[in-house]
């Protein structure tokens, strides 16, 4: 007799069937009676004062039903968290190319476009701030808002970590390194572009479908800028065609725009973005310029780290203050130091705007520190994995932040695992000798990393789930967190199935709807499995307790005497009784067959003034090895192998976890080798997939992944996080491999053909600006 087990077993993704059949309805697939099509007028200037905005001519265009501007919102639609600096539609100024100024609703997409063209908007150009390294110069053009604390208006935020006096220790170190590294922006490039659909309700409220990450945050903003009570705003989550951090702020603006248009017209209004519009208007991963100083003794023990980074947040703050904080916590890498200083300074520029992207600051700093660690190993004459093993964090250590690691730390095992899987020792030794006679040079590189679980000291960290047995004996499960492709709905289903001892097929896990699920904060920071999973487990256990009472009553025994045979309950007489019968008995007893639970993360503390504390409840650890073959005639780098080992705690949904690793590594390899966001005087150069290259199936090899079996005391069934971490170390591992292959180190991203072959960029004579924009040229439909 064994109960039904679901955790860690092969399982079917709950939304896979509708997706393989093509019946899943994404935002753009909705067509409602009388629905209007919306489009936004977007700035063609990177920095300008709005001298005049006359929307009346748009209303004269046949088919146009309404136009909205910032004046249609409370407080001009000012929003943002943690820094309130952006408007739902631009107010007085535009700060980046693609910023929305007004929105039009019309009977057809073509009429909406005509309406946009008819708007008279005069922009007076302002001086541009394009170089993050000069954002805080006294005479730098002002991009950021006025502030009352005497800081430069272009200053956004400073995040720091402090341990001892690294500069004085560096002076006494036998081996030191002082090096600069640069990362570029990265475009999310989700296959589904942004969009929202608003439907006015008869009660003068608004119902919004949006492919957003966090429907409750959208609801809060909508209520705020529309001046509606929360219960008059409902946000429903359709399937989301990828997000990776990218469907927050811009989609909330889109929601506010279509909602205002829907209220004005009394009709449903939909806006979907063309690819060009998506790439131009959307926020990117921030770019960072970093200086790393490291010191070690002659035996290879790391002693000091000083890390200084500047983060280009572009025109608005969005999530950058949090990104900078997460970057600061991970900047020194998962190593022990006697002394460590980190300073990450976020600044405003006119280079688009930056926000959340998978990894959230950690890929940027890991790119720097993991190349620096490799360069130190070179100077010490040590093998890169041996050097990391000598210095990496272990259970019981205190991190440079002052956090005692009381949970399992699987980093040593991860490093040993990738060394064994990749045949590291032989390849490190043999490749250089083979390369001498070859036009194709092979190399192999490693990167190690850690990644804090959930939101950490960024803010309140809790989630709620509800569970209910329906009259049909199916079980309905809700969470306030969104599954935008991550697999969290399946993970929650498996957790509930395991706790209840029922087959997962019995459970229907709903998508979030702000009227039927409970506010669980933002769906970010790879927090779903831990926070949402714990809430789901608690709700399911609460419901299971009722069924245990019913079964015990049915068998006239104590709940402790019950056992399970499949789904069936078994009492002392060892005769199984079907689950449905126990449910029916519970109904007759009048027991409540529904439950809801909230789970909150254990308290942690971070002191931003001293740069000390406990930043996260625990960490994910991992290591990846990348093998490359570099064509010395063209600079083309082929990735010929990837091996990954991750300590993600207990793996709950194996196919999903492996999928996260494969997908994260592929995005990381795109970041490393292909993906280039160029702002030329504020104008984004690559606005579609023909110029912004993301990896195809031929750009990545088969990846070998392994999970180190550890157990977290915090996550459900011992699970940790996986979504973001998978991406983090891929780029530095690839660039370390290129250095091994060619003997030349590239310290900026991406390592494209020119940088690999020549060591520098090609000149791009004759810049292109507005002609690249394409916003008014290409039609939507």
């Amino acid at each position: 007799m064994t109960k039904v087990q679901s955790i860690g077993k092969p399982a079917r993704r709950v939304d896979a069937l509708e997706k393989v059949l093509g019946t899943a309805k994404y935002l753009g697939d909705y067509k409602l009676p009388a629905m209007l099509y919306a489009r936004a007028l977007r700035s063609e200037q990177p920095h300008a004062k709005i001298r005049s905005l006359d929307v009346k001519p748009a209303l004269a265009v046949p088919g146009v039903q309404a136009v909205v501007t910032g004046d249609d919102f409370v407080d001009h639609g000012l929003y943002g968290f943690p820094t309130k600096d952006k408007y739902m539609l631009a107010y007085q100024k535009v700060r980046y190319v693609g910023e929305a100024i007004a929105a039009v609703a019309a009977e057809t997409p073509e009429a909406a476009l005509e309406g946009i063209r008819a708007i008279r908007c005069e922009l007076d150009p302002l001086p541009l701030l394009l170089d993050m390294d000069h954002a805080l110069d006294p005479d730098a053009p002002q991009v950021g808002p006025e502030r009352g604390d005497g800081q430069h208006p272009n200053f956004l935020d400073l995040s720091k970590v402090r341990l001892g006096e690294p500069l004085s220790i560096l002076e006494t170190c036998a081996v030191t390194l002082d090096q600069e590294y640069r990362t570029d922006h990265q475009e999310h490039a989700y296959l589904e572009t942004e969009g929202a659909l608003a439907i006015p309700t008869p009660e003068k409220g608004i119902l919004v479908y949006c492919s957003n990450q966090s429907p409750f945050i959208n609801r809060g903003y909508l209520a705020m800028v529309l001046g509606l009570p929360l219960d008059q705003v409902r946000v429903i989550q359709p399937p989301v065609g990828g997000s990776f951090g990218g469907k927050d702020d811009l989609n909330y603006e889109t929601s506010a725009q279509v909602a205002a248009l829907a209220i004005k017209t009394g009709r449903p209004v939909q806006m979907t973005f063309s690819r060009d519009e998506s790439m131009v208007a959307s926020y990117k991963r921030d770019a960072m310029h970093m200086r790393v100083r490291l010191g070690a003794d002659s035996g290879g023990t790391l002693r000091a780290c000083k890390f200084e980074g500047t983060l280009d947040s572009g025109a608005y703050a969005s999530q950058s203050p949090f990104t900078g904080w997460r970057a600061s916590i991970h900047a020194m890498g998962p190593y022990r130091y006697e002394a460590c200083d980190v300073d990450i300074t976020g600044v405003y520029t006119n280079n688009g705007f930056s926000g959340a992207f998978r990894g959230f600051g950690n890929p940027e700093v890991t790119f720097a520190i993991e190349q620096a660690i490799d360069e130190m190993a070179d100077r010490l004459g040590l093998d890169p994995i041996d050097f990391r093993l000598k210095n990496c964090l272990r259970a019981g250590d205190e991190t440079p932040h002052g956090q005692r690691l009381t949970e399992a730390v699987g980093l040593t095992e991860c490093l040993k695992k990738v060394r064994q899987m990749s045949d590291w020792v032989r390849k490190r030794r043999d490749f250089p000798a083979q390369n001498a006679a070859s036009a194709i040079r092979k190399g192999i590189g490693v990167a190690a990393f850690f990644h804090g679980l959930s939101m950490g000291a960024e803010g309140e960290d809790s989630a709620s789930s509800t569970i209910k047995i329906e009259d049909t004996d199916t079980i309905t499960l809700t969470s306030g967190l969104t599954d935008y492709g991550t697999g969290s709905r399946t993970v929650f289903t498996l957790i509930a199935a395991e706790e209840l001892g029922v087959r997962p097929e019995r459970i229907q896990m709903l998508r979030p709807d702000t009227n039927t699920s409970i506010d669980s904060g933002a769906t970010v920071a790879s927090r779903s499995t831990i926070v949402g999973g714990n809430a789901t487990g608690a709700a399911a256990r609460s419901l299971a307790q009722m069924l245990d009472l019913a079964a015990a009553n049915l068998f006239a025994c104590q709940p402790s005497q019950l056992s399970r045979d499949g789904e069936a309950y078994v009492g002392p007489d060892e005769k199984p009784v079907a689950w449905e019968q126990v449910v029916e008995h519970a109904r007759r007893m009048g027991l409540v067959l529904s439950a809801q639970s909230r789970w909150s993360s254990p308290a942690i503390h971070w002191d931003s003034k001293t740069g000390r504390g406990m930043p996260y409840i625990d960490f994910h650890y991992g290591a990846q090895v990348v093998e490359v073959a570099v064509d010395m005639g063209t600079g083309k780098t082929d990735v010929s192998g990837v091996w990954a080992a991750h300590d993600a705690g207990k793996i709950l949904f194996p196919q999903g976890a492996y999928g996260q690793v494969y997908g994260g590594i592929t995005q990381g390899l795109g970041y490393a080798l292909l993906e280039q966001v160029i702002f030329d005087r504020g104008y984004l150069q690559a606005t579609n997939y023909d110029e912004y290259l993301i990896p195809t199936a031929m750009d990545v090899p088969d990846i070998q992944a392994a999970f180190i079996d550890t157990h977290s005391s915090i996550g459900p069934f011992g699970a940790k996080n996986i979504g973001e971490p998978a991406l983090v170390p891929a780029a530095p591992a690839a660039l370390n491999a290129i250095a091994h292959a060619t003997g030349k180190r590239i310290r900026e991203l991406p390592a494209n053909l020119e940088r690999v072959l020549l060591g520098h960029d090609l000149q791009r004579p004759g810049g292109t600006t507005s002609c690249k924009l394409g916003l008014h040229i290409r039609s939507i439909g």
């Binding site: 993704r13 999310h188 990828g242 690819r275 935008y484 196919q655 997939y689 195809t696």
Partner: protein, 161 residues
């Protein structure tokens, strides 16, 4: 103009402007929303359909070009009684689906490959789906699903043969 063709095994006709794409014809005139719009320039493959026996980006085909020809969309790929066919089943089984937006076209890319190469290597599968971008999965489990389907179909042919 009247465009007559075979859509998902049925003869159909549509009165449509001559300058629209096959993608628009399928989504707006036939309501077949399994075909997705991703880039409109033939780069992402999310709008792939099978035209006669080849995979094409429907955003790059003018609607009148399909006159008299055979178009298969994801809605035309099914097992008995609207169940998933073996390839779709393997996409589920092998964990090949994440956000799902590229998946209908990926399934069609797999079917188009297996039509002309019933025994593809992993490299051939990767080449065959290289016109279809996926930002979530890293492609590996999609390759697994197509490979497993090829093997089982071959085995079935041998047993039945």
């Amino acid at each position: 103009m009247l465009i007559e063709f075979v859509l998902n095994h049925h003869k159909v006709g549509a009165e449509a402007p001559p300058d629209i794409t096959l993608l628009t014809l399928l989504r707006d005139h036939f309501g077949l929303t399994g075909t997705k719009q991703g880039c409109e320039i033939g780069e992402c493959g999310a709008c792939s359909v099978i035209l006669d026996d080849r995979l094409v980006s429907s955003c790059m085909v003018l609607a009148p070009q399909v006159g008299g020809r055979k178009v298969t969309t994801i809605e035309g790929i099914r097992g008995p009684e609207n169940t998933p066919n073996d390839l779709q089943e393997n996409f589920i089984e092998y964990g090949a689906v994440q956000c799902g937006f590229c998946i209908p076209a990926m399934v069609l890319a797999g079917e188009a490959l297996l039509l002309r190469n019933p025994q593809p290597t992993r490299a051939e599968i990767r080449e065959a789906i290289s016109g279809n971008l996926c930002r979530c999965t890293g492609y590996q489990q999609i390759v697994d699903a197509i490979q497993a389907t090829a093997r089982r179909r071959l085995k079935k042919v041998r047993v039945e043969g």
